[in-house]
């Protein structure tokens, strides 16, 4: 009996609690963005990102999300532009490859709708953002879909030569589609 309890405790400790039970399914998740150049929508996505999630839809106050995106994995379908993105004027991802989001508050709006507020850090600049997320569940998987706008110059993305927003719009739309396992039911 005692053995069983100890074994159970060891398993919980090794698995690191809720964080490890909830997992992102990268193959079914997507982080994409659309920026505008002279009115031309130029879209891209990040091929590498990861999340640590501790989220019970019934207890949003206790929810915690840490998200990391590898900016070096930006894929916009054009090698020349991707090379440019890594330079200091844009993402400076050769030096600071990780963009992070750390949630500070999660609010439930009902009907599977949530507001994730937290700090988004890109290129060494942190800004508070609010990401509205719609959560659905089916076949053991939880899907979270959200869109938010950021202003690229707030994060010094494309500053210097490229700071003319009539050429490259300041607004960038970020689309998030995540598939997760291990999230408790809505």
């Amino acid at each position: 009996m005692l053995k069983k309890v100890l074994f159970g405790a060891a398993v919980v400790m090794l698995s690191g609690g809720a964080f490890a039970q909830q997992k992102l399914v990268p193959a079914e998740s997507e982080i994409s963005f659309v920026s505008k150049q002279l009115g031309v929508p130029v879209s891209g996505k990040f091929n590498k990102f990861d999340a640590e999630v501790s989220f019970d839809p019934k207890k949003p106050d206790a929810a915690k999300v840490n998200f990391t995106v590898d900016l070096l994995s930006a894929d916009i379908g054009n090698a020349e532009t991707e090379t440019e993105l890594k330079k200091p004027g844009w993402f400076n991802s050769a030096k600071i490859p990780a963009a992070t989001f750390q949630s500070s508050a999660v609010k439930s709006l009902g009907g599977g709708k949530f507001e994730f507020t937290g700090k988004l850090a890109i290129k060494g600049v942190s800004q508070n953002v609010m990401v509205p997320v719609t959560v659905t569940q089916a076949a053991g998987k939880t899907r979270a879909v959200g869109t938010f706008n950021l202003k690229r110059l707030d994060f010094k993305i494309g500053d210097g030569d490229w700071n003319d927003v009539s050429l490259v719009a300041n607004e960038v739309v970020v689309n998030i589609k995540l598939a997760l396992t291990g999230i408790p039911p809505l």
Partner: protein, 185 residues
């Protein structure tokens, strides 16, 4: 024997307008294309690329209108003194130019779409992508725009040489009938 120019039928004013407007636009767009491709990545280059694309789409639209006009308005007859091979060469080169008027902008449009930069005409009117965004496809399409542009440039050089030969060697009215009307008409 050559008729005096006032007796020789001229091209319609609309045909003349199409000819010189498009000649100017195509020459400008071609020169801009040659210049911009070697520029370093910069806001200046981004602007020039977009202007080049807007000009290309405008050339495409005007060429469609011009083709419609050409199909419904017979051009003045060639001088009777021209040997059959020259008539054939004239016909073939004109057909070739019309083919290139469409091929050059369409290959450019396709390449732009495949490279992930859909065209927004004058920054206002979004045009549809008729090919998907695809890295490998973009690399495949890239040389075709270049080949088509140089193909057009080649035929245009022959076209200009022939027009000058008609004017200065044959001394006929083939060139004059395409010039904007002077006051004596």
């Amino acid at each position: 024997m050559t008729l005096p120019s006032f007796m020789s039928p001229r091209y319609h004013g609309v045909s003349i307008a199409f000819h010189w407007l498009l000649a100017l636009m195509i020459l400008s767009s071609f020169s801009l294309g040659l210049y911009m491709v070697d520029l370093p990545f910069s806001p200046h280059r981004l602007k020039l690329y977009n202007w080049h694309k807007w000009a290309g789409v405008t050339i495409l639209v005007l060429s469609a209108a011009r083709l419609l006009w050409r199909l419904t308005h017979r051009p003045p007859a060639l001088p009777g003194s021209m040997p059959p091979w020259q008539r054939a060469a004239s016909h073939v080169s004109h057909v070739a130019m019309y083919v290139f008027f469409f091929a050059v902008p369409l290959t450019g449009w396709a390449y732009s779409s495949a490279a992930g930069f859909p065209i927004v005409w004058f920054g206002v009117i979004p045009l549809p992508d008729f090919v998907p965004k695809d890295r490998a496809l973009a690399e495949t399409l890239k040389p075709f725009h270049w080949i088509a542009a140089y193909g057009l440039a080649t035929v245009v050089v022959v076209h200009i040489a022939a027009a000058l030969k008609h004017h200065f060697v044959d001394r006929d009215d083939v060139l004059k009938r395409m010039l904007p009307a002077s006051k004596k008409f």
